[in-house]
Symmetry: C2
Subunit: 355 residues, 2 copies
């Protein structure tokens, strides 16, 4: 008998918790028999939903709490006052080896702060980051990090992001030899910040050199020019939200077009199902599930406004990170990279994580 | 008789010059009788096209050169070696008061470097910037600056961007009381770089305070939350290209959908014209024409791969900047802002432009 994967779920995070969390778990449970859920939140509310979920029967346990972290809570306050919150208890469950992975659709800053304190960064990782997959023109997805955990990043931190992104693309996106690009405002060597030039140099001198494409620009993320786009958390967050906003704008315009005339409405009847099928590859729900990468334990962030189908996607990501042992993958790549860099005699600063 | 607006055109910049430049001029000329063109480039090639353009007859003059600036040329090299290039001569024409505005679809870095050297920055402007209009969900456009001229920006430079953007939104976008947002990764006060916090403080203490919305995020650009989004050139360039890339991805997906089945193709026949009409508001050609803002003279950048219709849009932008006297507008707003800030006893550093 194979061991079950135990998934810890924060049932008080996100716009529609616990509903979409428990129903998302039900969808995931319908697809694999080797998963078990630890739910953290309001026992009665969770039980009311779970008892109607056919695939969850005998496959969950509820840990009651009525404390939650609000979306506006500052991470520092969440850390201090949220020790009995559903989010914190769900993370603690990974720390205590009662779960293999934690998923929350709640406050991102608080999730990162708590995950860092409870799980601790992986050995020799300076700054854990947030990584997510963005659909691209090739019909696959591009991994982008950091999405906002670290506003400013030194070159050695960017190098570690590249290493972690490379491992993530292999494991979560199933790409055999992922390519890596550094986000910049031009492909020429002299463009951009000084930190980027040093990071590019570090990458060229590491064993990731053969995977390193060079600089990429904002539109390369959705073009799929490379499999992993590396940038600081400020730029990454703005790129991600710019992409989301633009996609919503264009979708809205097309919808307006379809409802703007009688002929267009008829056209919609004929074309709707084909367009919906085509648009599935860019459905944000299918790409839900960002990883808080670089921690001694697996912590996954779901979009706060997703539905049960979207939450099930985040669970799927979490499962692949557990089964493929992402953190071991990262540690191995990190070791090789450090060796190759020290051979090339380029120092990695020993900057340590702030808390 | 009103004075003609004289427009200087670089006929060797962009993918399809001189064709789209001259034909774009013809489109613009068909709409107003008070414009005259100075063409810079290969005399024979320009003449061959212009002679077939009905609306251009007796409304242009050609200044021959066969030197051009390549798209890959470094700005420093273009400055040194490009003194007889079509781009440089077209800019010189504004300096010599033979033209009221210059437009080029060529190398952006070279255009900025040459415009700065030839036209000089406006009095007390530290760093000229690139500003462009991006379509938004409201059906209007959001002005975004800087698009890439200044990789790093101090808080007082961001304040000047806000002032210039405010004037641009009034003049080019015809918005009476434009609102201003600072691009950040969250709306909370403690988010983002230190420079942003100081810039926000400067804005709140200036007479632009009533127009200052606060921080905005990446998706607010296409939402149209504010009329002017202010950021450094690194972030602005990445946001713009992320938006462009995402819009292309979604458009491609919809196109794929329409051609993916027989029913969808029929649907297309019914819906195509309505969708094209709806999509006109986000047609990049309709929003072509970025301004190099903060210079003692008006310099406009067209997208390098646009067509004649797109180039005509850039000419339209140029005309509104000339007729509404954008630079005088900026100088006035700058004066008032400086007075109000000095009253509030917040210093603007006297950092001077690098060359």
């Amino acid at each position: 008998m194979t061991k079950n994967i135990k998934i810890s779920l924060d049932c008080m995070g996100g716009d529609k918790a616990p509903q979409i969390v428990v129903e998302g778990a039900n969808i995931a449970a319908s697809k694999r028999s080797d998963i078990f859920f630890n739910f953290f939140g309001d026992k009665d509310k969770i039980e009311n939903i779970a008892r109607n979920c056919r695939h969850l029967q005998n496959r969950y346990k509820i840990f009651h709490t009525n404390e939650s972290i609000s979306p506006e809570e500052k991470p520092s306050v969440a850390l201090r006052r949220g020790k009995k919150s559903s989010m914190r208890l769900a993370i603690d469950s990974v720390k205590n080896k009662e779960s293999d992975v934690v998923i929350s659709a709640g406050n991102t800053g608080a999730l990162m702060a708590m995950s860092k304190i409870v799980l601790r960064p992986l050995e020799s990782i300076n700054r854990p980051a947030i990584i997510t997959a963005i659909p691209n023109k090739k019909g696959t997805a591009t991994a982008l990090l950091d999405m906002g955990a670290n506003v400013e990043c030194s070159p050695d931190v960017l190098l570690q992001f590249a290493i972690m992104g490379h491992a993530f693309a292999k494991v979560a996106l199933k790409i055999e030899n992922p390519t890596i690009g550094l986000l910049n405002i031009g492909s020429e060597d002299e463009k951009g910040h000084e930190e980027l030039k040093i990071a590019a140099n570090l990458l060229r001198n590491s064993d990731l050199n053969s995977s390193f494409y060079g600089y990429v620009e904002g539109d390369d993320i959705t073009k799929g020019t490379v499999d992993v786009v590396v940038t600081d958390g400020f730029t990454g967050n703005i790129a991600l939200k710019s992409i989301e906003g633009s996609a919503k704008l264009v979708s809205q315009i097309i919808k307006n077009g379809f409802s703007s005339s009688f002929a267009a409405k008829i056209g919609y009847l004929f074309a709707a199902s084909a367009i919906k099928r085509a648009a599935k590859s860019i459905d944000p729900r299918m790409h839900n599930g960002a990883m808080l990468i670089g921690l001694n334990g697996i912590s996954v962030k779901s979009h706060g406004s997703t539905d049960a189908i979207g939450f099930a996607s985040a669970i799927k990501v979490a499962i692949s990170l557990v089964t493929k042992d992402i953190n071991n993958q990262i540690l191995e790549e990190l070791k090789t990279a450090e060796e190759s860099i020290s051979k090339a005699n380029i120092s990695i600063s020993s900057e340590k994580i702030e808390e």
